[in-house]
């Protein structure tokens, strides 16, 4: 560990542009991320770009989460996984990330180091490099410990065109794993409900999973189901495709703990956030091959078919386990626990 930085907490002087800032950046960030260029901009080259018809994919996202560390991950892991997933669900091979940190005065440097270490580990696992970044320090109360913005660049091979408006009548909807773990974990980890569980966030990068499916079958459309849960992603897709999507409640992969948390609080798991969950559509004749390819990857072990696209009004409906049917609409604002 670098000797230059002796402070235990970040102070405003670490944002002042002087020696303290340089020490913080070097000791906490660049010594770990090891960007190749010491210039202000990353200079990038990949063989994937040489293919005729290949496209660049570019995305950006900001990450704020309370608490910043939770069972199954931390804000750094989410910042890497979330941006990698935004690239991956479009069929891009994720290559490079940026990471910009807004740090609240008083934040423990040890916490920053843990976050940076988990970003590095997750980036290595996902096969991406964190090539550029930035830090700003703001006064106490102007941020909540640390906020991270990460942008990502990847390359989409010439023969891939994954988009929601290409979903066809009869296509099969597949998810890669259990739903709602992240949302339920965060609710429990905030500690104000005194719910105990062994739940862990599903936070995971899905680049390898997408590569595996795309090599096996043509994927028509794919979205990751983050904020707003699977219900919001499916509603967006139904709208874009101009088709209705019918889910079958009995096939939804849900852990008992997640179901229980939702029962207690009056929440619906379809709207709980995920950080390592995607839903994709393939033609029905490709469903088995897609499932097999997904299940061959760690993050797709619990892959399951959850529904189908059908001609009809663009909306999401669900056949309930009980034998009825209901509409699964977009969430309005935030899900709030009910009174009684």
């Amino acid at each position: 560990m670098n000797k230059m930085l002796r402070d235990e907490r970040v102070t405003l002087s670490h944002g002042g542009g002087g020696k303290a800032m340089r020490d913080l950046i070097q000791s906490v960030f660049t010594d770990v991320f090891e960007p190749e260029s010491s210039e202000d901009q990353a200079r990038l080259m990949s063989d994937a770009l040489l293919e005729k018809g290949a496209k660049l994919a570019f995305t950006t996202d900001s990450y704020v989460v309370t608490p910043v560390e939770f069972p199954g991950g931390d804000i750094g892991k989410i910042a890497v996984c979330g941006t990698v997933n935004d690239l991956a669900v479009g069929g891009a091979k994720p290559l490079w990330l940026s990471a910009a940190f807004i740090i609240e005065e008083g934040t423990e440097i040890a916490l920053l180091r843990r976050i940076v270490a988990s970003m590095k580990a997750e980036a290595d696992k996902a096969g991406v490099k964190i090539v550029t970044g930035d830090t700003k320090v703001v006064g106490r109360g102007s941020a909540d410990q640390v906020f991270i913005t990460s942008s990502g660049v990847g390359v989409i091979p010439a023969d891939r065109d994954i988009r929601a408006d290409s979903i066809q009548d009869g296509d099969v909807a597949i998810v890669n794993g259990v739903l709602g773990d992240h949302g339920a974990t965060i609710l429990a980890a905030r500690g104000d409900m005194m719910l105990m569980s062994d739940l862990q966030s599903d936070c995971a990068a899905l680049g390898h999973l997408m590569e595996a499916v795309c090599h096996a079958v043509p994927v028509r459309a794919c979205r990751d189901a983050t904020r707003g849960g699977i219900a919001s992603s499916l509603n967006e897709m139904a709208e874009a495709a101009g088709l209705s999507i019918e889910l079958d409640e009995t096939t939804l992969p849900l852990r008992a703990e997640v179901k229980g948390t939702c029962e207690i609080l009056g929440l619906d798991p379809l709207y709980l956030a995920n950080e390592g969950t995607l839903v994709l559509f393939v033609a029905p004749e490709h469903a088995d091959a897609a499932l097999a390819a997904m299940r061959s990857v760690d993050t797709g072990r619990d892959a399951a078919i959850i529904g189908r696209a059908k001609a009809g009004t663009p909306m999401v409906t669900m056949k309930t386990a009980f034998g009825g049917s209901r509409i699964v609409d977009m969430l309005v604002g935030e899900q709030l626990p009910r009174i009684c």
Binding site: F322, G324, I327, D329, P337, C340
Partner: protein, 380 residues
């Protein structure tokens, strides 16, 4: 999930549904001449739509969605007073989550929070007590809201605050009671109701006898029901059987939870802490005699109405409901949510105009969430 899925078993549902069909036919109820059953409680409304029970039951049964959604019937003037308290310096205002979005005349609590008021979501009044202990230099106010289900826990928190001598804890009491508005509905000259499904969690506290008047004075059947889909189907069947047999009784379908005489500890705590107000305003229904509770003088140190000089002046405080809003007619069963000219047309869960669109347990919000676009299309 044990103890939950047993009550959602599709096979058992089929058996109940076929009995319901048989009895509906025996009564001679049809789509044109239906039996009107009111589920009083918003939790039941929510469950009916969530499990599609309205579409599984025969056309001869029509569900009328009652006033048992505490968030929906909260008058706008009281939301304004919440905001007024919450915006005072040095106040931490605590509330259940789903009260955050209820519109006041100026703003909702969610908007007041965005404007800088210290408003926190809690899951129990005990969380508010803990906040008061930890913040002795702040005034911590709990927004007491709900029927007999939540009323006892607020009472217990006030008793606890009194025992501890916590001077910085108070309750803004808006607790209301279930039986009184039912009487108002039954006295309505347009009333079409043939029977009731009663809220199980309320009876867990007060027992089943506060509903005796429904059977004895008005000759209507009522079945106190649980909240799982099989509970609801069985309760509907019990109501129908009473109608077929010409009986009017108070029956208890939820006996696994509901004792005939309720919970004596809760009843004693409520009697100790609260007294009835002469009347209280219900959004969509107006002032209803003896339907609200206030904190007794003995505990006035913990009464936010006293502490912040707010009080409650019955009858002089009604805020005009928005033009065209038909919540009152929906709640009394005169029209369906979709028949309201504002439904989906200026009144949606994003921007609720009327009471019943506010909470997910309100009839209009449930119609919208679980059948919204379909309902609007059907109406067109």
């Amino acid at each position: 999930m044990r103890y939950v899925e047993e009550f959602r078993d599709p096979q058992a549902a089929k058996a109940l549904l076929s009995k319901i069909e048989k009895v509906t036919a025996e009564i001679g109820a049809t789509k044109e001449k239906p039996i009107h059953i009111m589920e009083i409680c918003g939790g039941h409304t929510h469950a009916i739509f969530r499990y599609g029970l309205d579409r599984l039951t025969p056309e001869g049964i029509e569900f009328i969605h009652g006033p048992g959604c505490p968030v929906c019937v909260l008058p706008m003037s009281r939301v304004d007073e919440c905001v007024q308290i919450a915006e005072k310096d040095n106040v931490i205002f605590t509330t259940f989550g789903d009260a955050m979005r209820v519109p006041g005349t100026r703003k909702s609590l969610l908007q007041a929070k965005a404007d800088g008021a210290d408003i926190r979501m809690v899951y129990s009044p005990l969380d508010a007590l803990e906040l008061a202990r930890r913040n002795p230099d702040k005034e911590v106010v709990f927004f007491g809201l709900g029927f007999e289900t939540t009323t006892p826990s607020t009472a217990l928190s006030i008793q606890q605050a009194a025992r501890e001598g916590l001077p910085n804890f108070s309750v803004f009491c808006n607790h209301i009671t279930v039986p009184e508005p039912i009487k108002v509905l039954l006295d309505d000259p347009y009333m079409v109701l043939d029977g009731f499904v009663g809220p199980g969690h309320v009876s867990m506290v007060i027992g089943i006898h506060p509903y005796d008047f429904i059977a004895q004075d008005y000759g209507k059947p009522i079945v106190v029901a649980g909240f799982e889909p099989l509970d609801l189907l069985q309760s509907v069947l019990m109501v129908l059987e009473q109608i077929r047999d010409g009986r009017a009784e108070v029956e208890n379908q939820y006996a696994r939870i509901v004792p005939e005489h309720g919970n004596p500890v809760s009843i004693a705590a409520m009697a100790d802490v609260y007294q009835r107000r002469p009347s209280f305003e219900w959004r969509g229904l107006g002032e209803i005699d003896s339907s609200g509770l206030r904190i007794r003088d003995q505990y006035k140190a913990f009464d936010a109405e006293e502490k912040f000089g707010i009080g409650y002046a019955a009858g002089q405080r009604s805020v005009q409901e928005p033009d065209g809003c038909e919540c009152g007619a929906v709640m009394t069963g005169r029209i369906k949510p979709t028949a309201c000219p504002k439904f989906g047309n200026g009144c949606t869960p994003e921007m609720p105009l009327g009471a019943l669109m506010v909470s997910s347990e309100g009839a209009c919000a449930a119609y919208w969430q679980y059948g919204g676009r379909r309902a609007v299309e059907a109406a067109e």
